[in-house]
């Protein structure tokens, strides 16, 4: 049973009088524990695809099954609940709340969770998540006091707080230098290997896509290729070769 299954996914935007067809019938299955890299030029529809998979948007037509649930017809509140519990996001621009400490940023998903979590418990779990990404000593720093790599790690800690089964990363290395990019990829590969979290990475760079165990190429709103990556780059090994930052 695949973790995620889409069939004939179509998304059409109305921009003025012109109908823009962002997705033109996408069919795909992703198994639990895969590291899928979605690669394609800008405008290929890969971001739209990720938004629908990430329950931020709904398809115009087609089916989307997430863990045996047809989520393409769910209402806004139900989608919010899925985003909160089953999905984590990492963005290119980090998307941390400004003027808010790292630990408060990380505990954000707990505020919207189903269970009432006390302030002390929230702080405890957020601190633990920060420690897991190696930022325990930066808990009270605000985003503008952190480097890009650190900010992205805070974002990853936030994404993982509710133990999601799937993590969506939209150009996560776009604003990072090469070493921190590799570090972030290392975190993703570890999450996949150690915790079995499914990773969906969106990128326009072929080299970044090479970290995935499977590479799906997008063009003009359709999948043009879908192959297992037999030459997967391993971030841990590369880090050892790189000079220390």
């Amino acid at each position: 049973m695949p973790l995620l299954r889409v069939k004939d996914l179509v998304k059409t935007y109305q921009v003025g009088d012109v109908a823009v067809r962002a997705l033109r019938g996408v069919t795909l299955e992703v198994e639990k524990g895969e590291f899928v890299a979605v690669v394609g030029p800008s405008g290929s529809g890969k971001s739209t695809f990720m938004h629908i998979l990430g329950c931020l948007d709904r398809p115009t037509s087609g089916e989307y099954w997430l863990e045996d649930r047809d989520v393409s017809r769910l209402n806004d509140d139900e989608l919010s609940a899925i985003r909160n519990r089953q999905i984590g996001f990492v963005f290119q621009g980090f998307n941390l709340l400004a003027r808010t400490s790292a630990v408060e940023n990380v505990e954000l998903p707990l505020l919207y969770g189903p269970a009432k979590v006390g302030a002390a418990e929230r702080r405890k779990r957020a601190s633990a998540a920060l420690q897991a990404v190696g930022l325990a000593d930066r808990a009270e720093h605000h985003p503008n006091q952190l480097s890009g790599g650190q900010q992205q790690r805070v974002a990853i800690a936030r994404a993982l707080l509710n133990n999601p089964s799937i993590l969506f990363a939209d150009e996560p290395t776009g604003n990072l230098d090469s070493r921190t990019s590799v570090e972030v990829m290392d975190i993703f590969q570890r999450l996949k290997d150690e915790r079995g979290i499914t990773i969906v990475l969106i990128t326009h760079e072929q080299q970044v896509a090479e970290y995935g165990s499977r590479i799906i190429a997008f063009k003009d709103g359709q999948i043009v290729s879908d192959r297992a990556n037999d030459r997967q780059r391993l971030a841990m090994g590369e880090l050892a070769m790189l000079p220390a930052g």
Binding site: D77, R83, N84
Partner: protein, 488 residues
């Protein structure tokens, strides 16, 4: 998401922008302060009316010695002496008996510079209050009656008061320590009233009315100084002035152009035993009629007055006075007062009406200021919240991405708006309390900031927050998650 976490998020968001928060709340602060001041002034005015009414003596009963017998009741006219039969044969008078119940004042043979009771009662010229029928024992008996609040014995004379080289002809009042409780409009501008201890020791102490004090001492503080009354030295212990803006001390006003000493001291000094009058206050204005009836019954019994005979004293109330002034004959007036239980209230309302009108004008004025500043404050909050929604579009996107529902966003922004207005409201309550205090000082009104008025101001603030915060909050909740995440 719980209300608690909505509030946590809202307060965090507000604390990130303290200056903006502070500026936004000013409108609310002024609005709520005005509301609170308005309520305080309203209730204060009510209290002031009540106070003025009491100061004017609406709950006052004055029992005056003597009574004019009307022609319908007595052909002879003048005052009837019912106690005459109590006066013993002068031959049988021995000092012990004299001390036990009689006084030389009652004795026609005694050499005394005051007219005897018999002389006075037969003398219509002596007038009310001059008859010697009321005793301190009567006053003590009245103190035991139900519904009686305060009682003061009264002796009134005219006197030359001397301080150094200054002399002033003024009224001398012998009173009881309870007198200041009866004269509610009094304030002590210096010192105090004489004490119960001084009264029982017949101490030569005096309290000056403000006007008399000014005549005798000018601007100097008379407390601790000596004055001479009948060439006897009296120590001044206090100066009493008017606490009501309606009454200013003036020459010959009987209250502040006056000297007060313990009635016991006067009794001793002038060798007297009787009282000119007894002043009583009823605990409630509604009971004045009943209390005055009870006093009448009591005194008739004590004085041994037969069923058909008229009183040897006169019980006066404010209400009866106003009737009598209208030309009613006393017995008719008494019948009317006795049968109209709400009469005191009628006059009370008349007195209050003038003040009430002034209060209403002020309340209307403050009310419109409050309404305008609350609306302006509310629009200020709405404006800042709309701006905030635009400014924080990305934040909304982030929150939506980690699982916030549209309703959560709505609640957050609504909570922020309410928090803004409530913070402003709390500051307004503080400001309003201070403003009421200042106005109270200026107008000498007892403006009262009650818990109820604070609760109301608080509720008004929160309501303004909900009303003006709802639209921006709804805008925020309707933003598309993807668009807001992309918003730069």
């Amino acid at each position: 998401m719980t209300v608690g976490s909505s509030l946590t998020i809202a307060l965090r968001a507000l604390s990130r922008n303290k200056l903006q928060t502070a500026l936004t709340t000013i409108g609310m602060t002024i609005g709520v302060a005005t509301v609170l001041t308005m309520i305080a002034l309203g209730t204060g005015a009510e209290a002031a009316i009540e106070q003025q009414v009491r100061a004017a003596g609406m709950n006052l009963i004055v029992v005056t010695a003597g009574n004019y017998k009307t022609k319908t009741e007595d052909d002879g006219g003048g005052v009837v002496d019912h106690q005459a039969r109590l006066i013993p044969d002068p031959q049988s008078l021995i000092p012990d008996v004299l001390l036990a119940g009689f006084h030389p004042e009652d004795d026609p043979m005694e050499k005394h510079d005051h007219p005897t009771a018999r002389q006075r009662l037969g003398d219509t010229e002596a007038g009310l209050g001059a008859a010697a029928t009321l005793t301190p024992a009567d006053a003590d008996a009245i103190r035991q009656l139900r519904g009686v609040q305060f009682v003061s014995e009264g002796i009134h004379e005219n006197v030359h008061a001397t301080a150094g080289d200054k002399r002033w002809f003024t009224r001398l009042h012998g009173g009881d320590v309870e007198l200041p409780s009866i004269r509610r409009s009094w304030t002590f501008t210096a010192g105090r009233f004489f004490s119960a201890r001084e009264q029982s020791r017949l101490a030569p102490v005096a309290v000056l009315g403000a006007f008399a004090a000014e005549k005798l001492f000018g601007t100097a503080n008379p407390v601790g100084q000596q004055i001479l009354l009948w060439k006897q030295p009296f120590q001044v212990v206090g100066v009493v002035g008017s606490g009501s803006w309606m009454v200013a001390p003036s020459a010959g006003d009987d209250q502040f152009d006056a000297v007060y000493v313990p009635f016991t001291t006067i009794h001793k000094l002038l060798n007297l035993s009787k009282l000119n009058d007894i002043t009583i206050t009823a605990a409630s204005t509604g009971e004045v009629t009943r209390v005055s009836k009870d006093v009448t019954e009591l005194l008739r019994t004590r004085h041994g007055i037969g069923m058909k005979d008229p009183d040897d004293f006169t019980v006066g109330t404010q209400a009866r006075q106003s009737l009598a002034r209208g030309g009613l004959r006393p017995e008719v007036a008494r019948a009317v007062v006795g049968n109209v239980s709400g009469l005191e209230k009628v006059t009370l309302e008349q007195l209050g009406r003038t003040l009430d009108r002034a209060t209403k004008t002020m309340t209307a004025l403050l009310g419109s200021i409050a309404a305008v500043s609350l609306i302006v404050g509310g629009i200020g909050i709405m404006n800042i919240m709309l701006l905030s929604v635009t400014e924080r579009t990305r934040e909304i996107g982030i929150r939506r991405a980690v699982g916030a529902r549209a309703g959560d966003v709505l609640r957050q922004f609504l909570a922020e708006a309410i928090a803004l207005s409530v913070i402003g409201g709390v500051a307004g309550i503080a400001l309003g309390a201070v403003a009421s205090g200042i106005i109270a000082q200026m107008l000498k009104w007892s403006t009262s900031v009650s818990p109820a008025s604070i609760a109301l101001s608080f509720a008004v603030a929160a309501a303004v927050g909900v009303f003006f915060g709802y639209y921006p909050a709804r805008q925020a909740s309707r933003l598309d998650p993807i668009d807001s995440l992309r918003y730069e």
